[in-house]
Structure formats: structure tokens, C-alpha cells
């Protein structure tokens, strides 16, 4: 089952399915490595919940919820 990246729990390994964002935002996410069929893992959440840091391709990238909502993922264990 696909969920949005913002819904995935911390330390849950996910695989990106697709990104539903305007093209400019989508290209920027590709630059950071957020591409279909790539692993991503939510690592840390900020105290006001809006932003989380994700481990992708060995780098920590922080995304606001509005952005991670647009990334569909499936959990790796499924």
C-alpha cells in the first residue's frame, strides 16, 4: 500500500513510488536523489512537527511536510 512520505514512521525504510509535484519542485527533488524506486528513510522530526530529515543516498535532507506529502512511498517490509 502506498502512503505519503510524511506518514512513514521514523526509521521506517521506504521505497519512493512517485512524486506528484509541480515540475520545478519535482526536478529539485530529483537533484537531491528523491527519485522513483530509490530508498529513503525518515530519521528525525523537528519539535513543531512540520519538518523532518530523511536519509537518502547517504545524505540527510530536510523536507517540510507540504513537500513530503507529495512523495508517495511504499514501506520496504511490505
Amino acid at each position: 500500500m502506498n502512503i505519503s512520505l510524511s506518514e512513514a514512521g521514523l526509521n521506517e525504510r521506504c521505497i519512493i513510488e512517485k512524486i506528484d509535484a509541480p515540475i520545478e519542485e519535482k526536478l529539485r527533488l530529483y537533484d537531491f536523489g528523491f527519485m522513483p524506486e530509490r530508498f529513503v528513510m525518515p530519521m528525525y522530526a523537528s519539535f513543531l512537527k512540520g519538518i523532518r530529515a530523511y536519509m537518502i543516498k547517504g545524505t540527510l535532507i530536510a523536507l517540510r511536510q507540504e513537500c513530503s506529502d507529495k512523495i508517495s512511498v511504499r514501506l520496504c517490509d511490505e
Binding site: I23, F32, G50, G58, A62, R64
Partner: protein, 610 residues
């Protein structure tokens, strides 16, 4: 013969400016966070009798991006002004960085790939077969650790060989630059992954330590307390250590003042000129150097240490929720932290914020964060009037004022985002770099020799004429009253409402060229320059202020107005440059004054109740 132009391109925070400094001997700002370089910088070096011009470009993720912060780099590369391009890549995350190199190779023939941070990559168990990578790409691949200066000569050699056509380059062309945007972007990324699979070996060592630290610093519960703790320690060390050089400099200036007086006597200058030189120019300048400079000299290396570690983006991460709530960009937290060093530099760095609306909010509210020119005033007055000279209490008081300044900045950002600068909040992606061990020796030398000496030079340049001006205002009379008293009288009514007096308020205006001159000007206007040696003695300092009617309330209100008053001349000129608008520049001048007036009035009213 014209110089051979070498452009340094690469993702943000891959060490381009460090390599640029190593190649040219210049001192571009470096630090461990994305977006430090916002303007193209140029430098030169000579190798084997040939002159090279090096252009350090701001970090760029893709040559096909339309984002505002990458515009300068993209335009430069596309203008084909460079004779060759060195793509600097972080060897510890090559897969992502190689993307840009492949794009550059599709546009240029003379491309060199520089794998920087090789030491770090090896530490993390990442091995790269650079020979094989070079064969696949068809371009020279050079391994460097620019921070240690390793491999820099190989970069020079490669530039020389290319300029002499001695190097055979046959770059691999992906030839997908004319495809659709999405297909092209994915195509480059897939190609990068494929190449990396064949040249990289990863053991993923050494990340456990980073994870442990991040689990505390990025924790939702501990993140903010840890930031406050770090800042408290920073200001505690600053307040404690600054005392010793301050007392020493006070002693030296006292002796030098006696010598200068003797010299002036030998020269038989008039008593008026002697007073102008000694009490006016020398007194103010020695105050700036002995009282205001030591806290800066201690603060700068400590702040640079945090910057080099990679702490700043983590602060932005922890504070982002607050900025989001006020409809501002999370990167504003980074530019706000930079303001602790210098508001003008931080305002220029607001270019890392992509949209005009959010950038303007960051520019217009940046001045609420006190810069190094204002911190000595806050530290000295907190120490004397609030903490009774106790280092830890001083640090707590200073951090308290800093937290207040952040709150004011956030509230004014909210006000702007609801009124003049309404709009949608933009998407926000922030890279959290790996922690890097700072090079202590380099930090100390760079902070003291570059930053502190630069600030001191600027301060002295502003303090000398300010001292002379104050002397004239005190010694030239109109209607039998010194001009200074007329000015003080003019400012006195609003100042009293704010818990200040006319002299203090006038001093802020006289200190407009440089914030670090405000306290010396106040002190001089009070006639406190009779013995320069006593300046650094906090007891004597407090006594002079108390004789002039200063209370705890005066000190608190002076600190509050120091946080909330107009930007200094340099910062204001930068605001004009960045906004290209007289209206916004005027707004940036008057808005903090209005906020400061309100805040001081409220503080004065409340504190007088007790």
C-alpha cells in the same frame, strides 16, 4: 596575453571556496553549510609562468534549474566565459554530485572533475577508483582534500595542461540535454548511479557517531535546549575570556595616553588641540579597542567553530517549525544565525532564499539579531548591571536577550507576511551536512587576523571621527550651552519615555556608521574618558554610569534599543543593494526604531513598577 579562465562549479558545500582559497591564496568565506557563496568571486594564480583567473561560483545542483539562488552560477556557465570548468564534487556522496559533472560535460569539452573531501570519504569507508572513473568520463579526475591543501597542485597542473592543449580530453557525452525536462533530469541521475556502481566501494563506516550526535541535536525535545546550551557556553566563554585582554589593553592605552600627552606637550600644541586629540580622538578609539574589541576577538573563533562543525543548518532545522508558522522560509534561521557575525553579510546571504517575498522578510528583519558590533554592549551592560560581574549569569542574560531578539524577529516576520509581504510559503529543502572536525588553528588565525582585524579597522575608522565630533559638540557652545547638550535636550523627551536619556539616544544616531562606537560615544558624552586605564575596570565603569544617573532600567532599555534600532550604515547600504528599493530601505530604517520605541517604553513602564 589574456588570463586563462577557470570556473569552479559544483553542488553547494562541496569545498569550492576552500579550493578557490587554496589556489589563489584569497580568503573567501568558508563554512560547513549550503549557500555561503552567493556571488561569483574571482582570484588569480600563476603556474609555470602562465596566469590563471579562477572564478568561484555559487553552489548549483543543476544547470537546468530555474531557482533564483542558482541563477548567478548558471548564467556564468552558460555564457561560456570560462576557458575550462572544474567540477568540484564531494567524494563522500559522488552519486549525487556526478549529475552536475555529466551536465557540464554535455555543454563543455574542457571539464575536469575534482573529487574533494577524499580524506572524509576514506574515513567513511568509501573507495573510488579514480582511474576507472577518468576512463569512463574521458576527462581528468583529480583527488583532493582542499582543507589540508592536498592535491591542489594537481589542479594547477591540470589547468596548465589544458591551457597548453597538452591533455587529451574526450568527454563522454550523455547527449540528453535536449530531451524533456523530467526525462533529462532522471537520465543524468540514472547515469550517475550506473557510473558510481562501477567505480565506488562503500562500507558505510563512521556514520554511527554522526547519528548519535544528531539523535540529540535534531531531537524534537532536546534540539532547542541544546541550541540554548551551546549559545550560553559560547557567551560564558566570551564574557569570561574577554576580561583579560580588555584589562591589558586598558593598561597599555593608559600608558600610551601618558606618552602621547608628553609628546603633545613637547610639540607645544594648544590645550584645545591636546584635549581634542587626547580626550576626543584617542579616548574614544582606545575605548573601542580595549572594551569592544576583546569580546569580538573571543566570539568570532567560537562562532566560526560552530559554523565549521555543521551546527548552523541543524539550528535551521530545529527552528523551521517557528518560521513556517509565520509564513517565512526556514533558511531565514541560517541567515539570522549569520547575523551574529555581521548583519550586512547575513543580508547578502539572504539570496539563498528563493522567493522574493520570503527573501525580503528575511532582509528586513535581519537587523533584530544583534551583530558582533552590538554584542560587546550587551555583554558589558549585562555584566555590570544585571549579573554583577558573574560570568555564568552574564551569559544567561545575554542568551535571554538573544532569545528575545529572535522572538521579535519572528513576530515582525509574521507582521510582514500578513501585511506588506503576503503570499504562499515556498517549498523548503535543506541539506544537513555531515559533521566536520574544525581546523582549530585555521579558525583562530582566520577569525582573529581576518575578521577581528577587519572589524577593528572599520571600528577605529568610525571611532576617530566620532571622538572628534563629540569633542567639538561638547566644546562648541550656542547660547552659552554646549551643542551636545542642545542635541541631548532635543532627544531627551522621547528618550525619557523609553527609559533612556537624551545622550544615550543621540549616541545611537552618532554611532550610525558602526554599532561598536555607540557605547564609547555614550561614555565619552558623560565625560568618562579622564582615565583611559580605568575603562576596562568594570567597577570604575559602573561608577561613571551611576554618577550619570544610570540604573538597571537604563541598562536594560539601552540593551533593548541596541537590539531594536536602525541598521548601521553598512547594513543599510546592503539592504538598499539587495532590495533595490528606497521604500524598503526606509522601512528597514524606521521599522526597528518604532519596535524599539514600543519595547523600551513597555520595559520602562513595567520595570518601574518594581
Amino acid at each position: 596575453m589574456s588570463d586563462f579562465v577557470v570556473a569552479l562549479a559544483g553542488n553547494p558545500n562541496v569545498g569550492k571556496s576552500t579550493l578557490f582559497n587554496a589556489l589563489t591564496g584569497l580568503k573567501q568565506h568558508t563554512g560547513n553549510w549550503s549557500g555561503k557563496t552567493v556571488e561569483c568571486a574571482e582570484g588569480k594564480f600563476e603556474f609555470c609562468g602562465k596566469n590563471f583567473r579562477v572564478v568561484d561560483l555559487p553552489g548549483i545542483y543543476s544547470f537546468y534549474s530555474d531557482s533564483a539562488e542558482e541563477k548567478a552560477a548558471k548564467e556564468y556557465i552558460l555564457s561560456q566565459r570560462a576557458d575550462m570548468v572544474i567540477v568540484v564534487a564531494d567524494a563522500s556522496c559522488l552519486e549525487r554530485n556526478l549529475n552536475l559533472c555529466l551536465q557540464a560535460m554535455d555543454m563543455f569539452d574542457d571539464v575536469v572533475l575534482c573529487l574533494n573531501f577524499m580524506d572524509e570519504a576514506q574515513k567513511h569507508g568509501i573507495g573510488i577508483d579514480e582511474k576507472r572513473l577518468s576512463d569512463i568520463l574521458g576527462i581528468p579526475v583529480i583527488c583532493t582534500s582542499a582543507r589540508q591543501g592536498e592535491g591542489v597542485d594537481k589542479v594547477r597542473e591540470a589547468a596548465f595542461d589544458i591551457s597548453e592543449n597538452d591533455l587529451s580530453i574526450n568527454p563522454f557525452k550523455a547527449e540528453i540535454m535536449h530531451k524533456g525536462e523530467e526525462e533529462r533530469s532522471l537520465g543524468y541521475m540514472h547515469l550517475s548511479e550506473e557510473i558510481c556502481r562501477s567505480v565506488c566501494v562503500k562500507n558505510n563506516k563512521g556514520f554511527e557517531f554522526q547519528k548519535k550526535i544528531d539523535s540529540i541535536i535534531l531531537s524534537p525535545k532536546l534540539g532547542i535546549p541544546v541550541i540554548i546550551l551551546f549559545l550560553t557556553i559560547l557567551f560564558f566563554i566570551t564574557a569570561k575570556l574577554a576580561n583579560y585582554p580588555s584589562q591589558f589593553l586598558g593598561f597599555v592605552f593608559s600608558l600610551a595616553g601618558v606618552k602621547l600627552s608628553s609628546i603633545l606637550d613637547v610639540l607645544k600644541v594648544s590645550s584645545a588641540v591636546k584635549s581634542l586629540v587626547l580626550d576626543g580622538i584617542y579616548g574614544t578609539t582606545s575605548f573601542v579597542v580595549s572594551v569592544m574589541l576583546p569580546p569580538m576577538a573571543v566570539f568570532f573563533p567560537l562562532f566560526t567553530f560552530l559554523e565549521e562543525c555543521g551546527f548552523l543548518p541543524r539550528i535551521a532545522f530545529s527552528l523551521d517549525g517557528v518560521f513556517k508558522k509565520v509564513n517565512a522560509n526556514g533558511k531565514q534561521a541560517i541567515t539570522s544565525m549569520m547575523a551574529l557575525g555581521c548583519n550586512a553579510a547575513a543580508i547578502t546571504n539572504c539570496r539563498i532564499i528563493g522567493t522574493k517575498r520570503e527573501r525580503f522578510i528575511a532582509v528586513l528583519t535581519n537587523n533584530f539579531i544583534p551583530c558582533n558590533g552590538r554584542f560587546p554592549l550587551i555583554i558589558v551592560l549585562s555584566s555590570v548591571f544585571i549579573a554583577d560581574g558573574k560570568g555564568f549569569l552574564t551569559a544567561l542574560a545575554v542568551v535571554g536577550f538573544l532569545v528575545l531578539s529572535v522572538c521579535i524577529m519572528i513576530l515582525t516576520s509574521l507582521f510582514l507576511s500578513k501585511t506588506f509581504l503576503k503570499g504562499e510559503v515556498s517549498s523548503f529543502v535543506l541539506e544537513l551536512p555531515p559533521y566536520r572536525r574544525p581546523q582549530i588553528k585555521k579558525i583562530v588565525v582566520r577569525s582573529i587576523l581576518d575578521r577581528t582585524v577587519f572589524v577593528m579597522g572599520r571600528s577605529i575608522t568610525a571611532a576617530m571621527p566620532a571622538g572628534a565630533l563629540i569633542w567639538f559638540l561638547q566644546n562648541i557652545s550656542a547660547d552659552g550651552t554646549p551643542l551636545m547638550l542642545h542635541i541631548a535636550h532635543f532627544f531627551d523627551a522621547p528618550a525619557r519615555i523609553m527609559g533612556l536619556d537624551g545622550i544615550i539616544l543621540a549616541s545611537f544616531f552618532i554611532g550610525f556608521p558602526a554599532n561598536e562606537t555607540v557605547l564609547p560615544v555614550i561614555f565619552m558624552c558623560m565625560g568618562g574618558m579622564n582615565n583611559v586605564g580605568e575603562i576596562a575596570d568594570m567597577g570604575a565603569f559602573a561608577a561613571v554610569l551611576a554618577q550619570n544617573g544610570w540604573t538597571h532600567i537604563t541598562a536594560v532599555c539601552t540593551i533593548l534599543f541596541s537590539i531594536c534600532h536602525f541598521p548601521c550604515a553598512t547594513a543599510l547600504a546592503t539592504i538598499k543593494k539587495e532590495t533595490r528599493s528606497f521604500i524598503y530601505t526606509a522601512f528597514a530604517f524606521f521599522m526597528p526604531v518604532a519596535v524599539g520605541f514600543m519595547l523600551c517604553t513597555i520595559a520602562n513602564f513595567i520595570l518601574n513598577l518594581f
